[in-house]
Amino acid sequence: MSASGGPLAKSAYPYDPVRVRRLRDAAGWPKGKRHELVSAVAVALAHPEDELAAWLAVTHHGRNRPFCLAVEDPSSSMVEIALEGREDGLRVAAGAAPGVAEQLGRLVVLGEQFGPWGLAYLEALLICADRAVSAEESAS
């Protein structure tokens, strides 16, 4: 959620590139920046013991593995993120992203735990679930 209460990650409208660009410019969101980076930082803050959750949050669109896609974001504004099971919102810098040491550390630990294919399977599973939910929301 943004500080003003609007959703940042999901849209209630069908995809429209013109509208997306207009909203992105209005929000000051850099072109190409992935919202998953901010989400992953929030998940890591809320659940520091859960390396898998933070990894899946940042990689489940098939990007950012292991290096986060770099997009310059000079913004110093904060975004408030609502996480299920947590009453208070988390405030995270809009330009936040997992560091390279964090990403590589998670890749090694999770790779040992699940194996490279097992980890890729979990990422695929999450994006399938994400798409299914988005499809349901669009339909309704």
Partner: protein, 285 residues
């Protein structure tokens, strides 16, 4: 925090980069490595392995190298073209495996049923004769003091210490020929460097190309030459994750991507086939 500065390993040297990769492959889990800026445009390696000082770190590294029994590699070295698949499999202990991965781009089965271990240096430098023998010899002569002096930057070039063409700063020992290391015998190298470099090469082991030239990952085609390229990263990363960072060409990434990934600079060293060695490092990004 017990980060130790390795003044003997400078970021602009291909041998130092490979040596740092070798160190990372030998360190215990939880260790981190990085490069620290040292003066203007220069870097030195830094390691946090829980060791109190360079002597303690040297003990850790030498113990790990000695535990890598390269004695069986010496057997392979006797005739690298006449190794049966069974011998090859048996001899691939952890240590031997690591060195072979670094040295040999491939091990094809020959028509006579034996395995031809083709050292990467055959592709790159055109040498093979004493390659494995030199690797074993330098492992055997390694001591804690030699390692400590190398890491501290106190190592001195000595006669008959072959660098296998990996150290551009090495010189031929014949006073009449003052030139760079041609990778042949009769080279004055710094003791202790090759055991680390060979293990580090395994981290960025290139794949053979179709034209008998090894490339891929950190080995990049640049015009008619092949280059070894390495990133200088100032962010401390886990030693066991280093391969994910260094086995790729960072000069091909955007400056923003390099910054976000902790890569401060990228250096390149041309593989000089005719001279059978690596050229001095130069900054490319």
């Amino acid at each position: 925090m017990s980060e130790l500065v390795l003044a003997g390993l400078r970021g602009g040297s291909p041998a130092a980069a490979l040596a740092l990769y070798g160190i990372a492959s030998l360190l215990p889990a939880g260790s981190t490595v990085r490069w620290l800026e040292h003066g203007s445009g220069d870097w030195v390696a830094a390691v946090d392995a829980g060791a109190a000082d360079l002597s303690a770190l040297s003990v850790v590294l030498v113990d790990a190298i000695k535990a890598d029994d390269l004695g069986s590699l010496d057997e392979v070295a006797k005739d690298i073209n006449e190794v049966t698949p069974e011998q090859f499999a048996v001899r691939r202990s952890a240590g031997v495996h690591r060195v072979l991965v670094g040295l040999a781009a491939e091990a094809p089965l020959r028509p006579n049923g034996n395995v031809a271990i083709t050292p990467i240096c055959t592709y790159s430098f055109g040498t093979r004769g004493t390659l494995f023998g030199n690797a074993v010899k330098q492992d055997a002569s390694l001591t804690v003091d030699v390692m400590r002096r190398l890491l501290a930057g106190e190592g001195r070039e000595q006669k008959d210490v072959n660098t296998l063409g990996f150290d551009p700063s090495a010189r031929r020992q014949d006073g009449a020929v003052i030139g760079p290391d041609p990778s042949a015998d009769g080279v004055r190298g710094v003791p202790g460097l090759v055991p680390l470099v060979l293990r580090g090469l395994a981290t960025v082991a290139p794949m053979p190309g179709t034209a008998r030239s090894a490339q891929g990952g950190a080995f990049v085609r640049a015009g008619s030459h092949l280059e070894f390229r390495w990133p200088v990263l100032s962010t401390a990363v886990r030693s066991d994750a280093l391969a994910f960072l260094v086995a790729r060409d960072w000069s091909a990434r955007s400056a923003a991507q390099r910054r976000a990934s902790g890569v401060d600079a990228v250096y390149a060293s041309t593989v000089l086939r005719d001279e059978r060695r690596l050229a001095a490092g130069r900054r490319v990004a």
